[in-house]
């Protein structure tokens, strides 16, 4: 009776390929030894590969992959896990030789001119030595960091070598990390705003000054969308703005390109708007948490200071671009913008909490209260006052928090097992000037996140950038902060395809636009965005961030 549209590949093949690749990826480091990578680094590489395969091909939901990542880390990499529970570093006390600063050690303790000093039963420190001579099973090495009686790790391939296991609570704790709490606060504000129609009413009020001329309406829609999506999820903002845009589109004939512009303007603005605040989209969280781990904290207001000008320039260029590409034929519209603000007690409480939270976030630099702490104000305020009830709490996008938490957890292990450094160390990055590195990072992030989830892209790339900064591989001019921010921004500029972001998918579903329209404008905006961001990164951000 029915023949479904035949797909080139049935859905199960993608699942099967994803699962197979993931499992193979996980197994490779167990069977193949990579020089210079610790045992824990091998384990982490396995986790990294399975996560990358699963995140990219999605044989299981991406949040489930995050949960899998945390599970694997707890089991394989935590102090309390079966591998590390009773493990101790094998010790060897160096033997002095006749020669000054030359020591005899077992050759199993040496790898690529590297020896690990045993600083405790479960901790070690890497030092470089100079090999003088080898002799059946022993090596004579020269080093001024070794003294008589120094204990070194006798087996360089021991599981504890080069890795100090973290407690399982570190991995689990990512779900309660300040950035996650910050997001939770943002989610709850957004849920409350939707529940009491604040988003719609605000839209109607904000759109009024833009009049009835098509180009101004578009500009208004884009600005309002960007503002809302800075604080709400891009997707929810798009869905809400579409309810405003669709009645406008229905006033236009089907041939009028204005429809295309209308349908494109909203996802573009929503995607861009997400960049504006730390809570705008999940990739921002990955960036901020990775930087926090390196002791580089970025305040809420600081983030806005660097992001908002970028967003504005990109919004305006997208607007100008669409004006040229899809000139409207219609000249005037009727807009019905009736706002009816809820004036119930709960709604008033919500408005108050909303306003206070946003103000406190933006002024973080002035009062010094971290945004994660401020986020507890809406969490507490909205539940204590019953503005949000049990059902509302249940329907929050918890899976997004898990997704981010998994990303943060993976980042931690990539850092402290040396995997990230090992991955980037194969190339001599220091020959490239920073501007080229930023461009490469931005481009790779942009390309990947067009096909992958933005958060996943950030998760995979940020640890690499961070390790380049911390390891010094990239040379002196490299700024860890600016590179990470660049990657984060680039992830949010991906809007080439309907699958790039949920807002794109929503816009596509209206049927007003073709994929080609989206690709055309998406690629131009991506490239413009990349270069504008680069310009900011070189000329403006250092003034704010460094």
């Amino acid at each position: 009776m029915r023949t479904k549209e035949k797909q080139r590949f049935p859905a199960w093949t993608k699942t099967a390929v994803g699962l197979t690749l993931g499992i193979i990826g996980f197994c490779i480091p167990l069977f193949v030894h990579f020089d210079g990578l610790s045992f824990a680094g091998h384990l982490t590489l396995g986790i990294f590969l399975v996560a990358a395969a699963f995140w990219m091909l999605e044989p299981i939901p991406i949040y489930a992959t995050s949960m899998l990542v945390i599970f694997l880390q707890i089991v394989l990499l935590s102090t309390q896990g079966p591998l590390y529970q009773n493990a101790e570093l094998p010790s060897y006390t160096v033997e002095q030789t006749a020669q000054e600063e030359v020591w005899r050690i077992p050759d199993s303790a040496l790898q690529n001119n590297t020896v690990f000093l045993r600083t405790g039963a479960r901790s070690s420190e890497e030092i470089q030595i100079e090999v003088v001579e080898t002799e059946n099973g022993f090596v004579f090495v020269r080093s001024d960091e070794i003294s008589s009686g120094t204990e070194i790790v006798s087996d360089v391939n021991h599981i504890l070598t080069g890795y100090t296991p973290a407690s399982y609570t570190v991995f689990m704790g990512t779900l309660a990390s300040p950035i996650i709490i910050l997001f939770l606060g943002g989610f709850m504000l957004a849920a409350a705003a939707v529940k009491y129609n604040l988003d719609k009413n605000l839209t109607n009020v904000l759109l009024k000054p833009f009049g009835e001329k098509p180009m101004f309406i578009i500009l208004g829609l884009m600005l309002v969308t960007a503002v809302l999506s800075a604080f709400m999820s891009n997707t929810a903002t798009t869905a809400m703005m579409m309810t405003v845009a669709i009645p406008i589109a229905l006033q236009v004939s089907k041939e009028d390109k204005f429809r295309i512009m209308l349908a494109l303007s909203i996802p573009i603005a929503a995607n861009l708007g997400g960049m504006a605040t730390p809570i705008g989209t999940p990739p921002n969280a990955i960036v901020i948490s990775a930087l926090n781990a390196q002791g580089e904290s970025i305040a809420f207001g600081t983030w806005m200071l660097i992001a908002v000008p970028l967003v504005l320039v990109m919004l305006l260029s997208a607007w100008g671009l669409m004006r040229v590409m899809y000139p409207p034929t219609i000249t005037r519209f009727k807009l019905e913008l009736d706002s009816a603000f809820d004036k119930s007690g709960k709604a008033i409480i919500m408005y108050f909490v909303f306003a206070l939270t946003v103000v406190l976030w933006i002024t973080e630099a002035q009062h010094g209260i971290p945004s994660g702490m401020v986020a507890f104000l809406p969490i507490m305020g909205l539940t204590v006052s019953s503005v949000l009830e049990k059902e509302d709490i249940r329907s929050l996008p918890w899976e997004v928090l898990w997704l981010v938490a998994g990303g943060i957890a993976l980042g931690i292990s990539m850092e402290n097992t040396g995997l990230a450094v090992w991955l980037v160390s194969s190339i001599s990055w220091d020959v490239f000037p920073q501007i080229v590195l930023l461009l490469v990072f931005g481009f790779v992030a942009l390309m990947l996140s067009n096909f992958l989830s933005n958060t996943v892209t950030a998760t995979l790339l940020i640890p690499l950038a961070v390790s380049m900064g911390t390891s010094g591989i990239a040379g002196d001019g490299f700024s860890l902060v600016i590179s990470a921010v660049m990657i984060g921004m680039a992830c949010n500029m991906a809007m080439l395809l309907p699958i790039s972001t949920p807002p794109n998918a929503i816009a596509m579903s209206t049927g007003y636009i073709k994929t080609a329209d989206m690709v055309k404008i998406g690629s131009i905006i991506g490239i413009i965005g990349l270069f504008v961001a680069l310009a900011y990164a070189v000329l403006f951000w250092p003034a704010v961030l460094l």
């Binding site: 009776m1 029915r2 023949t3 549209e5 035949k6």
Partner: protein
């Protein structure tokens, strides 16, 4: 209580009234009171001791005739106890005249005048009388002078009482006839009223039938009308494009070919079409379902022809054009069909409802039956109608009214069968030259005890609230048939169900 009884009681009451009056007033030449009761009592006291009196004592059983009208009578009867009914025989029946009781005299006139007995006297209860002849009366008068005086007085009083009662009766008759006149007037009004109600009921019945018919017609006409309207809409939309694009095809004759094929296409069953769609969708998986649906309507030969356009994605317009051509043909055929159906319906309706006030015409009643079936077709969707209508003589009739007959009976059958079953309609000529039509169903049938009643105007098996006014349907039907000098009856169909038989005289003229 019979009218006779009623009348007797009336007589008794009026007698007592008159008697009471005469008793109290007192009548007699002496001015003394003449009391019948006292007189009777007196005689009864004397009876045991008097040979003379007791020899005239006589009893009658209830119902016994004491005096018969026309006989001779030489005796005078004095009623001592019980009641006697006086009546007079006419040619046809007996009329009660009077009721006499204790103290009254019977046979007074014939006894005195020697004429024959004028009224029959019958004991209406057990009666005791003193029966005396002229000689005995003289003797009694001699022996009992005090009685004789009373007797004379009583005779006179009796006569005057009779006279008074005649007068009173006259007055009462006059009054009664006035009442009667009044009641007759009332009755006439009532009859007028009834007549009006009956007409109203008949009208209601007609309206009910009309309602039934319009509802059915609405459906019958709406379906083709929908198809018609929508087909025209579609053609108006695609024809301009078709004419414009026809030149793009290498072979412009193709469009014509597809159009003509569409006009003569045979409709596939939905099952077959589904099967075809499945096949096509497997073959042309890149085509959308609506295109596949249009293709599934093509015959195999046409499918061959479009195959080259359907295979690749680069000629969607040509494929569309050919499919549209075919579809346009299909819709043209559909328009023809629909207009034909509507036209036919309207024609049927016109002849069905021919004006019944016009002169009767000589007609073939089978046509009327067929028109009726057409018009109430929506009721017959689930009914298998088996028609057997051989040639029959013409009938002089009001066609419109006879159509009402068919409608009523068929709808009646539908109701009985709850719109599911079989309907048999036959006709023929009987040996005596009458035309007969039978309309039978295989429903529950008519119970024997109701067979005679269903043509009565108050008969209905329908519950209130549902269908209205139909209780009178078969009565009207009978009325119409009788108006045509025909008859209608019902009997059991062989094999269950009811069969109505309508007989109508065949038209004998040229």
């Amino acid at each position: 209580m019979s009218s006779e009884d009623k009348y007797m009681r009336y007589l008794k009451e009026s007698r007592e009234k008159v008697q009471k009056r005469s008793n109290t007033i007192g009548i007699g030449s002496s001015g003394r009171r003449l009391d019948k009761n006292a007189f009777v009592k007196n005689i009864k006291e004397l009876l045991p001791g008097s040979e003379l009196l007791s020899s005239h004592y006589q009893t009658y059983k209830q119902g016994e005739i004491i005096l018969r009208e026309g006989q001779e009578n030489k005796r005078l009867f004095v009623i001592l106890d019980g009641y006697v009914k006086q009546s007079k025989q006419t040619d046809e029946f007996e009329i009660a005249i009077d009721l006499q009781g204790p103290g009254d005299f019977m046979g007074l006139l014939s006894f005195q005048t020697g004429e024959r007995v004028f009224t029959t006297a019958r004991a209406s209860s057990d009666v005791e009388v003193l029966r005396v002849g002229q000689s005995s009366l003289d003797q009694i008068q001699e022996n009992y002078p005090e009685i004789s005086r009373v007797i004379q007085g009583l005779i006179f009083s009796n006569l005057s009482e009779r006279y008074r009662r005649v007068v009173t009766l006259h007055m009462e008759i006059a009054q009664l006839s006035r009442q009667l006149e009044e009641e007759r007037n009332n009755l006439r009004d009532t009859i007028n009223e009834l007549e009006k109600t009956r007409n109203l009921l008949i009208n209601q019945e007609k309206m009910a039938t009309l309602g039934e018919l319009t509802a059915g017609l609405a459906h019958e006409i709406n379906n083709p009308a929908s198809a018609l309207l929508r087909s025209v809409d579609y053609l108006m939309r695609v024809l301009p494009d078709m004419t414009e694009q026809a030149g793009a095809l290498p072979d412009t004759g193709l469009v014509r070919h597809f159009l003509e094929a569409g006009m003569s296409r045979e409709i596939r069953s939905t099952d077959q079409q589904r099967e075809k769609m499945k096949q096509l969708q497997e073959r042309y998986s890149h085509l959308s379902r609506s295109v596949i649906r249009d293709m599934s309507e093509l015959g195999d030969e046409l499918l061959e022809k479009v195959a080259s356009y359907a295979k690749s994605d680069d000629k969607p317009k040509s494929l569309r054009l050919l499919l549209d051509s075919h579809k346009a043909g299909v819709f043209l055929a559909s328009i023809q069909l629909s207009t034909g159906r509507i036209g036919h319906l309207v024609k049927s309706l016109k002849s069905y409802s021919r004006d019944s006030r016009a002169e009767p015409e000589v007609a073939d009643i089978r046509l009327g039956i067929q028109e009726t079936l057409m018009i109430i077709g929506n009721r017959l969707k689930d009914i298998n109608v088996e028609l057997n209508l051989p040639e029959i003589p013409m009938v002089k009739c009001y066609v419109g009214e006879l159509n009402q007959v068919w409608t009523n009976i068929i709808i009646n059958s539908c109701d009985a069968m709850e719109d599911k079953g079989r309907l048999f309609i036959n006709c023929g000529t009987s040996s005596d030259g009458e035309v007969w039509v039978t309309i039978a169903d295989d429903g529950p049938g008519v119970p024997d005890n109701l067979k005679s009643k269903i043509f009565e105007s108050s008969f209905t098996t329908k519950t209130a609230g549902g269908d209205f006014g139909l209780g009178i349907g078969l009565a009207i039907t009978r009325g119409v048939v009788q108006k045509h000098s025909g008859s209608i009856s019902v009997r059991d169909r062989m094999g269950g169900g009811a069969e109505f038989i309508i007989r109508l005289p065949a038209y004998k003229g040229k």
